[in-house]
């Protein structure tokens, strides 16, 4: 790549890497913000799906309202799990080579297949869940004259894939299919994400990443972030509905009270699951840290320097303190939970999991393979080239915004939020 202003060649990674002391000449922070986003986004997909499956498979009836929403939301998150990888590749057009010549000794090679299998499961589950709705819509729109409605009817007709059967037997089959798919989906979702952890955990050259606990840690924090995001999005949508109801019918109307009651009920039940996974995630992470300190292998000297000095603020204040401890207290301590407190706790949790990904991905490259030098990462904020956009703040924001854009589009045809 060439710098537009000076015409000088720029090495990939040199723009955001500062070296200190002895670092090998070829070392840079090659895996930057998009590789932080990648496990974060796959984590959200897996977490959202697991949440929806808790209802479908284990019959957790209290999660019924969340289940449908989180299923549709995990559908919208699907393409987003791929995005960071595409943004990160130096040869994005060749990304598909992974499917053509998968080299199965590589942890990344199976990604295409695991991900596709998972996508098929999620898409099929959504289809079975909404088959009845698609048929009903295409029947209801029959005979309507306007172009829009005709188009919409054909759209639903296509979505139903030619199926017209609304008998009780057929609907029972739908339900059964959803349950089976959700059951298969849980191990696949965990595998998809655990395996994102394996991609890091198996890099023997990297002292921070190499740990057999990495995949399990990744799954647990993935479920935490997935549930937290679903709850947060649910809150936002329900608040919006409440606001609309207030505008239409006034503050004291029955529908407003109903929305509020349903919302709090659903949320407090989801919180219990969230807490369980949060405790598991933190326990494993601390175990990993203590084990490293206790065994004190060759790499511990430089790891300790990075963790307790250079990255202390990011790891112990932002990740464990602000991102784990405070939300944990907010969720556990007060008997009377309020939407406001819950929202703060959820936002902090999402931030905490993001910081965990950051500290693993960037932190793992904060020291040289020589163990005699450091590298510092500066996130490119204002992009001045394609590379600084893709691997900078705005690239990351594009990735974050996409699932919401997709959800907005999908919701026009597939309603996933009902409070009645």
């Amino acid at each position: 790549m060439t710098d537009a202003a000076t015409g000088e060649l720029i090495v990939h990674g040199a723009e955001w890497t500062t070296k200190q002391l002895f670092v090998y000449p070829n070392e840079f922070i090659y895996w930057s913000i998009q590789i932080v986003m990648y496990p974060y986004m796959t984590g959200l997909v897996a977490g959202a799906f697991v949440l929806s499956s808790l209802y479908h498979v284990f019959g957790q009836k209290d999660l019924k309202d969340m289940a449908r929403f989180s299923l549709v939301f995990s559908l919208c998150l699907l393409p987003v799990a791929m995005m960071p990888l595409q943004f990160h590749l130096q040869q994005p057009l060749r990304g598909v080579n992974v499917m053509f010549t998968p080299h199965f000794t590589s942890a990344i090679a199976a990604f295409g297949f695991v991900f596709s299998a998972y996508a098929v499961i999620v898409i099929s589950e959504v289809w079975f869940e909404y088959r009845q709705y698609f048929i009903e819509q295409s029947i209801a729109l029959k005979g309507k004259k306007s172009t829009n409605e005709t188009l919409l009817r054909w759209f639903y007709y296509t979505l139903a894939l030619g199926s017209r059967d609304l008998s009780e037997k057929a609907i029972a089959v739908d339900k059964k299919a959803v349950t089976i798919l959700a059951a298969i989906g849980i191990p696949v979702a965990c595998f998809l994400h655990g395996y994102a952890g394996f991609i890091f955990g198996s890099v023997k050259a990297n002292a921070l990443w190499m740990s057999p606990l990495m995949p399990v840690i990744f799954i647990m924090s993935a479920v935490v972030s997935g549930i937290a995001l679903c709850m947060l999005t649910y809150i936002i949508i329900m608040q919006w509905k409440k606001f609309q109801a207030v505008l239409a019918k006034g503050m004291g109307d029955e529908s407003v009270v109903v929305i509020e009651g349903v919302q709090m009920d659903v949320l407090s039940k989801a919180t219990r699951y969230l807490l369980g996974f949060l405790i598991a995630a933190i326990t494993l992470e601390l175990l990993d840290l203590i084990f490293r300190g206790y065994t004190a292998m060759k790499s511990w000297d430089i790891l300790r320097e990075v963790m307790f000095k250079a990255d202390f603020f990011k790891i112990f204040i932002l990740q464990y303190g602000l991102g784990n401890l405070i939300p944990f207290l907010l969720l556990v301590v007060p008997k009377q939970q309020t939407i406001k407190k819950l929202t703060i706790a959820l936002v902090l949790l999402l931030f905490g999991v993001f910081m965990m990904r950051w500290n693993v991905v960037i932190g793992g490259q904060a020291f040289s393979l020589s163990f005699a030098g450091y590298m510092h990462y500066t996130l490119p904020i204002i992009p001045h080239s394609m590379e600084t956009y893709k691997e900078g703040l705005f690239g990351a924001l594009t990735v974050v915004a996409t699932p919401y854009l997709l959800f907005w589009i999908v919701s026009k045809f597939v309603p996933s939020i009902r409070y009645s």
Binding site: M1, L9, V11, H12, A14, I108, K204, A205
Partner: protein, 256 residues
Amino acid sequence: MSCSRRDLLKNTLKGAAVASLPLSALKVLSPAEVKATIGDSDTRWVFLVDIQKCVGCGFCVKACKIENDVPYDVGVTRTWVERYVVTKDGNTNIDTPLGGRDGYNSDMIHGEHIDPDTITKAFFVPKLCNHCKKPACVQVCPVGATYQTKEGCVLVDRKWCIGCGYCIMACPFGARFFHPTLKVAEKCTFCYHRISKGLKTACVQACPFGARQIGNLKDEKDPVSQTIMTKRVGILKDEYGTQPQVYYIGLDERVR
């Protein structure tokens, strides 16, 4: 001899099946042919670095960059030379400005002046891809774009590499980088294009002191092979289990 219609049909079918067997299916392969098919070769390229002979002139780095079209003025390089300066207080000062391309003629290391009187020992360590027997980079490439030749060289297919950087992360030696203009993984090839024609690598040819040598480990008469077999040699970062094939004479425990 009687022959029923059924027998005739049966035997005709059997005969046809035998006749349709291609002759090649029964061909006996010679041991040499078998060896060629399963990918064995009578060459295993290895590299020998004599640290005691290196003066840190950087000619090897220059020659490599020019020979292999690695942009001259960028920090990344296929081969580099590190300087180690150990002082009386036990500190090891290490640097490699621009990969040691321009040689070492300053007393400054990372902005600090090193007083010559405090130095207990100092030496230079040339580095390059170790063309490991069990290369971690080949293991992790998701598309098989990086591979090992029969002669043990680890190469990159520039037309197939997707630029994910997993191989760069997996290499414990920091031998890999992204080529600044081609945007694919790049590394030392032992000058495969030269050695397969009987030439020496660019760095070996450029070294005025014979600190670098390339040889064939499978040839007992090869001087490099003889040195590795009979002298005390070391390798870098044994603990990663990749079995590096760049051997060092005079390796110090402080070498990273």
